[in-house]
C-alpha cells in the first residue's frame, strides 16, 4: 500500500492540530518541520509516536553524539565497539568479555524497586544480545543525604532491594559497585548498572538484520501497556512535581521470564539458529527493529496483529513503543523457524513470527494488512538533528555548600573516625550482603577483599572489573575530575594486578541545553578522553543520561566509568588489607593531594569549588604499571589506591581489612586527608620488594599510628566504618 494511504486513514485534517500533537510528544517545532520535509507529508499518529521516541535524547543522543566522537575507541583487544548492544574485548583463550553500563535514573526516581530491577534486567539483555552469558553485575548509585532525607533512605533501600531481586533471582553475581550521597541527587537519584558477559569469541553476534525474506521473531514476555513512552517521558525531560503521574511509564521486571529467555537465547546461538539478535529496551519494538534494519541496510515489516499482547485493545502505536520487559527480537532463516520454536517451547519461552526482513530500507507497520506506518529507516535512525552545545562556564556557583557536620578544630583522630563513619566512606556491607556475589563460581575477590572484583577464567587467568565516579570532584573541575574517574578505576584494577582492556561509561548530567551544563559535559568528555589516551584504554560503549535536573538545579556532573581488565594468574590477584606483621609500607605514585573537593571539605561544609590537583598523566601510567607488575609477580602482600579521605583513610582501610595495625610516618607536608584519586597507592610487602621507594611505615600492632598526628585502635576504626550505614539500609 502506498504511503499516502496513511494520510487518509484517520480521515481528519492535519494542519490545525499539529503543534499540540508533536509538542506533547517532546519534539520541537523545528524537528517536526524536518520530519515533514523528509517524509514529504505529515506523519500519521503511529509514525509520529515512533519518531518522537527515536528522536528523543535517550535514543538519538542528539545533544551528546558530536562530543562522544572525541573518545578513543580503538585498541588491540577490541572486538565490538560503540554502537553494538554491548562492547566486547578479547581476553585470550578464544574468549571475549562483553560489557556495558547503562542508566535507569529517572524510572528509579519514580519507582525505585522496579526502576532499579529493570535497570539490571535491561543491561543483562544488552549483554546476552551479543551472545555473551552475563557473569557479573556492578552498580553505581547516587542518592541525597540519608541522614537528612527520608526520601533518600527510601530510594536507597528500595533500589538496593530491586537490584538484589533481579540479579539474585537470575543467577548473575553482583560483584561490586559504589554508592555516594550528596544533596544534589536528592530529586534525581542515579542508578547505573553495569554487566559483563563471557562468550566464546566465535559466538559473538551482531544485531544487524540481514537476508530479505528472513523471519522476524519476537521472543519472551507478552507486550503490554507498561513503559509506554518511557524514553521520552522519563529519560529525556527534567523531573518535576507531578512524577507520581509518571508511574505507569515505569516498567515491571520479571527475572524468572528473563532467566528462561537468557538460557533460551544462548542455546539458540549455540545451535547457530539465529541470523541476528537484539534486545528490546527503550522505545521497544520501534527502536529494536529500526536499529536492526539500519545496521543491516535492510527494511523490516511488522504486523502488530501478530504481537502477543497482555491486554486486549492495544493500538498499533502502543504495541510499537511499549517497553514491556524481557523481550528479544531475532532474525531467523525461514527453514530454521520450526527448530527455533521447538527450543523456545522447551524453555517455556513464547516465540512468535511477527514480520519479515525486506529489501527496501523502510520500517513498515501493518494492522490486519493495512499499512499504519511506513518510514524510511534512515529517517528514524540517522536523520534526527544533532545539536551543537553552547558551553559557557557558569560565573556563579551552581551548587550550594553542604551543611557542615565537622568543625575545623577537631583532632586528626576525630576527623579520621568521622570520615570512616560518614555515609560516603562507611562499610557497604549492609548493601552488598543483599546481593549474591558468588553464583557461577568464578568470584576470586568479593566486595571488601580488594579494590576490584576478580573473576576466574577457565585457563587460570582472570578478569577484573571496577566502577568509579566522583560527582563532587567533577563539579569542582569537570575536566580533571572526569580524568580522575578513569585513573581511579584503572588504579583499582592495578591493585589486583589487572591491565585495563576496555572502558564503558555512563555520563549522568543535567540539562545540556543550559550553557553551564553544556560546559560541564564538554569539559568532562575532554577529561575522559585525555585520561583514556594517557592509559591507552579504548571506550567500547556506554550510555548518556541527561536532564537529571530538578527545580533545585542539576545533579553534580557524574561520569561513571567501568573498566574491564585482565590478569594472567587468578591465584595472585591482589588484596587491599595489610597481610603480615613487619611488612614495609610504601606510598607509590605522583600523589599530590589537595583538600579541594575532598570528603573532609564536604564534612566541613565547604562548597564543591576550586581547581583539582594537576596530575602528570605519564607519571600516573608509570605508577599503575609498577603496581600492576608488582602485584602480578607476587612481590606485594597488599595494594590499595588512595581515594576518598586521602592517605589517612586509605591506611585505615588497609588496617581494617587486614585486621592489623600499622605505624607510619607520612612524607613531610602531605595533606593527610587531601585527595588526588588514581595517582597514589598504599602498598605493603617485604622491604626488598619496595627497593627504590620511600618506605613510610610498617605493618603491625593493634593501632594505626601516624607519627605526630594520631593513634587510633583498629577496632575503633572498624567499629566506626562498620556501622556508618546501619540506620539507613
Amino acid at each position: 500500500m502506498p504511503a499516502d494511504a496513511i494520510e487518509t486513514r484517520s480521515g481528519k485534517p492535519r494542519a490545525g492540530d499539529q503543534s499540540s500533537r508533536h509538542r506533547a510528544l517532546g519534539l520541537t517545532d523545528h524537528e517536526y518541520e524536518l520530519i515533514v520535509e523528509r517524509l514529504g507529508r505529515d506523519p500519521a499518529d503511529v509514525e509520529l509516536a515512533m519518531l518522537s521516541l527515536m528522536w528523543s535524547e535517550h535514543c538519538a543522543y542528539k545533544h551528546s553524539r558530536k562530543l562522544l566522537g572525541r573518545l578513543p575507541t580503538g585498541g588491540p583487544h577490541v572486538l565490538l565497539g560503540p554502537g553494538e548492544n554491548a562492547g566486547a574485548v578479547d581476553v585470550g583463550d578464544g574468549l571475549a568479555v562483553a560489557f556495558k553500563v547503562e542508566s535507569h535514573n529517572h524510572p528509579s526516581a519514580v519507582e525505585p524497586f522496579q526502576g532499579a530491577a529493570t535497570g539490571v534486567g535491561g543491561i543483562l539483555r544488552d549483554v546476552f544480545a551479543v551472545g555473551a552469558r552475563p557473569i557479573a553485575v556492578l552498580d553505581s548509585l547516587r542518592f541525597g543525604e540519608p541522614a537528612r532525607s527520608e526520601r533518600s533512605r527510601y530510594l536507597l533501600e528500595r533500589a538496593v532491594a530491586g537490584i538484589g531481586h533481579y540479579g539474585n533471582s537470575i543467577g548473575v553475581p553482583t560483584v561490586g559497585g559504589e554508592i555516594y550521597f550528596e544533596s544534589s541527587y536528592e530529586q534525581n537519584c542515579l542508578v547505573n548498572a553495569m554487566c559483563l558477559g563471557l562468550a566464546p569469541r566465535l559466538r559473538l553476534i551482531r544485531s544487524a538484520a540481514a537476508g530479505p525474506g528472513n523471519v522476524l521473531m519476537l521472543l519472551g514476555a507478552l507486550t503490554g501497556r507498561d513503559g509506554i513512552g518511557g524514553a521520552s517521558v522519563l529519560a529525556s525531560a527534567e523531573l518535576g512535581d507531578e512524577d507520581e503521574a509518571k508511574r505507569p511509564s515505569v516498567q515491571i521486571g520479571d527475572p524468572f521470564t528473563e532467566k528462561k529467555l537468557l538460557e533460551c537465547c544462548l542455546e539458540l546461538l549455540d545451535r547457530g539458529l539465529l541470523t541476528s539478535l537484539q534486545d528490546l529496551g527503550a522505545a521497544g519494538l520501534t527502536s529494536s527493529a529500526s536499529e536492526m534494519a539500519s545496521k543491516g541496510g535492510v527494511g523490516i515489516d511488522i504486523d502488530t496483529c501478530r504481537v502477543p499482547l497482555r491486554e486486549p485493545g492495544m493500538e498499533p502505536f502502543e504495541i510499537m513503543i511499549s517497553e514491556s520487559q524481557e523481550r528479544m527480537l531475532c532474525v531467523v532463516e525461514p527453514e530454521r523457524v520450526a527448530e527455533v520454536m521447538d527450543t523456545c517451547e522447551r524453555w517455556e519461552v513464547l516465540a512468535t513470527p511477527i514480520g519479515c526482513v525486506t529489501g527496501d530500507q523502510r520500517l513498515r507497520v501493518l494492522r490486519r494488512g493495512t499499512v499504519v506506518a511506513d518510514l524510511p529507516v534512515r529517517v528514524l535512525v540517522d536523520d534526527c538533528p544533532l545539536y551543537d552545545l553552547e558551553p559557557i562556564q557558569s560565573a556563579i556557583a551552581i551548587y550550594e555548600a553542604p551543611e557542615p557536620v565537622l568543625g575545623e578544630a577537631e583532632s586528626p583522630a576525630e576527623v579520621l573516625l568521622a570520615l570512616m563513619r560518614s555515609a560516603n566512606l562507611a562499610s557497604r556491607r549492609p548493601v552488598f550482603e543483599q546481593y549474591d556475589p558468588v553464583v557461577q563460581s568464578r568470584t576470586v575477590r568479593r566486595p571488601d577483599e580488594a579494590d576490584a572484583a576478580v573473576l576466574a577464567l577457565p585457563d587460570g587467568s582472570a578478569i577484573a572489573v571496577a566502577i568509579d565516579g566522583n560527582g563532587r570532584r567533577v563539579a569542582c573541575d569537570p575536566r580533571r575530575g572526569a580524568a580522575e574517574a578513569v585513573f581511579e578505576c584503572a588504579a583499582n584494577l592495578a591493585c589486583v594486578g589487572a591491565e585495563p582492556l576496555g572502558l564503558t561509561n555512563c555520563l549522568n548530567f543535567g540539562n545540556p541545553e543550559k550553557p553551564h551544563v553544556a560546559w560541564q559535559l564538554t569539559e568532562a568528555v575532554e577529561g575522559l578522553a585525555e585520561a583514556c589516551e594517557a592509559l591507552g584504554v579504548p571506550v567500547v560503549g556506554g550510555n548518556v543520561s541527561l536532564y537529571n535536573e530538578a527545580p533545585g538545579g542539576p545533579i553534580f556532573p557524574t561520569p561513571v566509568v567501568g573498566i574491564v581488565g585482565k590478569l594472567p594468574d587468578a591465584a595472585r590477584a591482589g588484596r587491599l588489607g595489610f597481610q603480615r606483621e613487619g611488612d614495609a609500607i610504601a606510598l607509590i605514585g605522583p600523589f599530590h593531594p589537595s583538600p579541594v573537593g575532598s570528603e573532609l571539605a564536604k564534612l566541613q561544609g565547604q562548597p564543591p569549588r576550586g581547581e583539582l590537583p594537576l596530575v602528570d598523566h605519564e607519571a600516573v601510567r608509570i605508577a599503575h604499571d609498577w603496581v600492576r607488575n608488582a602485584v602480578r609477580s607476587g612481590a606485594l602482600h597488599s595494594a590499595h589506591d588512595v581515594a576518598e579521605g586521602g592517605l589517612a583513610v586509605a591506611l585505615a582501610e588497609c588496617c581494617v581489612a587486614g585486621g592489623t595495625g600499622a605505624s607510619v610516618e607520612p612524607p613531610e607536608g602531605l595533606e593527610l586527608f587531601g585527595e588526588a584519586p588514581g595517582s597514589g597507592f598504599v602498598v605493603s610487602g617485604p622491604e626488598a620488594a619496595l627497593a627504590g621507594f620511600d618506605v613510610i611505615g610498617y605493618v603491625g600492632g593493634s593501632e594505626l599510628e601516624i607519627a605526630g598526628c594520631l593513634e587510633v585502635a583498629v577496632s575503633e576504626l572498624e567499629e566506626a566504618r562498620e556501622h556508618g550505614l546501619d540506620e539507613f539500609v
Binding site: A161, G164, H165, N168, S169, I170, G171, D254, P255, F256, T257, K259, K260, E263, W347, E348, F432, E433, Q434, Y435, D436, P437, V438, V439, Q440, S441, R442, T443, V444, R446, A456, A570, A571
Partner: protein, 225 residues
C-alpha cells in the same frame, strides 16, 4: 559415583553444583520435565528460584515430573541432597521435616558463615568429625528453619539435626540455629548453606567438598567401585 543435578526453569546454582560434584565423580543434569533419573547414585536439588518461586519457595517445584521420581528414589533409600532452594523443595515435598520461612530481616542475605557439624553419622557428613567447623556461604531470602518445639526435640533426639550455625552466626533466625536436617532414614539431607560454593581455595574455602566426599564414600561403601 554418578551425581544427578536437577535443572528447573529458574534454577541458578545447578551448574555450580554440577561442577562441584564433578570434582568428586561423574555428574549429569536432570531436566525438570523428564521422569528419567539416568541411573544416578545420588540426586542434588540445587539452589535458585525454581519456576520463579512467586508462590512459596519450592511450592511449585515439588510437583515437577522429575520430583515424583526423586520421591520414589528417596523412598528406596537413594541419596538426595537439597541445597537452599533444593532444601525448600524437599520440605515442600515432605521428604524432609520442618519448613523454611522468610528471614527475620525480611531481606536477602549473603554471608560466609561458620557451621558446626553436630551429626557426623550421616551419608552426607561421614567425612567430618562431630564438632568440625565448616566455612560455607549462605545466600537466601527464605531460609529460617522452623518446626514446632516438640518436633524439634524429636529431631534432636533422633540425630536428624545435622548442621548448626556456629554461635553468633545464625543469619536468618532459624530455630535452635539449625542449618541442615536429614530425614529419619538419613538418606535425604537439606541445608541452606551452599557447599557447592566452597569447593575451591581460589574462591574462598574447600569445606563444602566434605559433603560431596561423604556422599561418595557412602555410595562406594554400598556398591562395589
Amino acid at each position: 559415583m554418578k551425581f544427578g543435578v536437577i535443572r528447573f526453569p529458574g534454577s541458578c546454582d545447578e551448574i555450580d553444583a554440577l561442577r562441584a560434584a564433578e570434582r568428586i565423580g561423574e555428574a549429569v543434569l536432570l531436566w525438570h520435565a523428564d521422569r528419567d533419573l539416568q541411573g544416578v547414585d545420588a540426586v542434588i536439588v540445587p539452589g535458585g528460584f525454581s519456576y520463579g518461586d512467586y508462590l512459596r519457595a519450592g511450592a511449585i517445584a515439588r510437583f515437577a515430573p522429575v520430583m515424583e521420581e526423586v520421591a520414589e528414589f528417596a523412598r528406596a533409600g537413594g541419596l538426595v541432597l537439597g541445597i537452599c532452594n533444593g532444601f525448600q523443595v524437599l520440605c515442600e515435598a515432605h521428604l524432609l521435616p520442618g519448613a523454611l520461612l522468610p528471614n527475620v530481616s525480611l531481606k536477602f542475605v549473603f554471608r560466609q558463615v561458620r557451621l558446626d557439624v553436630v551429626e557426623a553419622e550421616t551419608p552426607f557428613t561421614r567425612a567430618c568429625a562431630p564438632g568440625d567447623r565448616l566455612s560455607i556461604p549462605v545466600k537466601h531470602t527464605t531460609g529460617r528453619f522452623y518446626a514446632p518445639e516438640a518436633e524439634l526435640d524429636r529431631l534432636e533426639d533422633a540425630g536428624q539435626v545435622v548442621l548448626l550455625y556456629a554461635s553468633g552466626q545464625n543469619p536468618n533466625g532459624s530455630v535452635r540455629d539449625i542449618a541442615g536436617v536429614c530425614n529419619e532414614g538419613r538418606n535425604v539431607f537439606g541445608l541452606m548453606p551452599h557447599p557447592e560454593h566452597a569447593v575451591d581455595e581460589l574462591t574462598a574455602s574447600t569445606d563444602g567438598l566434605k559433603i560431596f566426599e561423604s556422599m561418595r564414600a557412602h555410595v562406594s561403601g554400598l556398591t562395589p567401585a
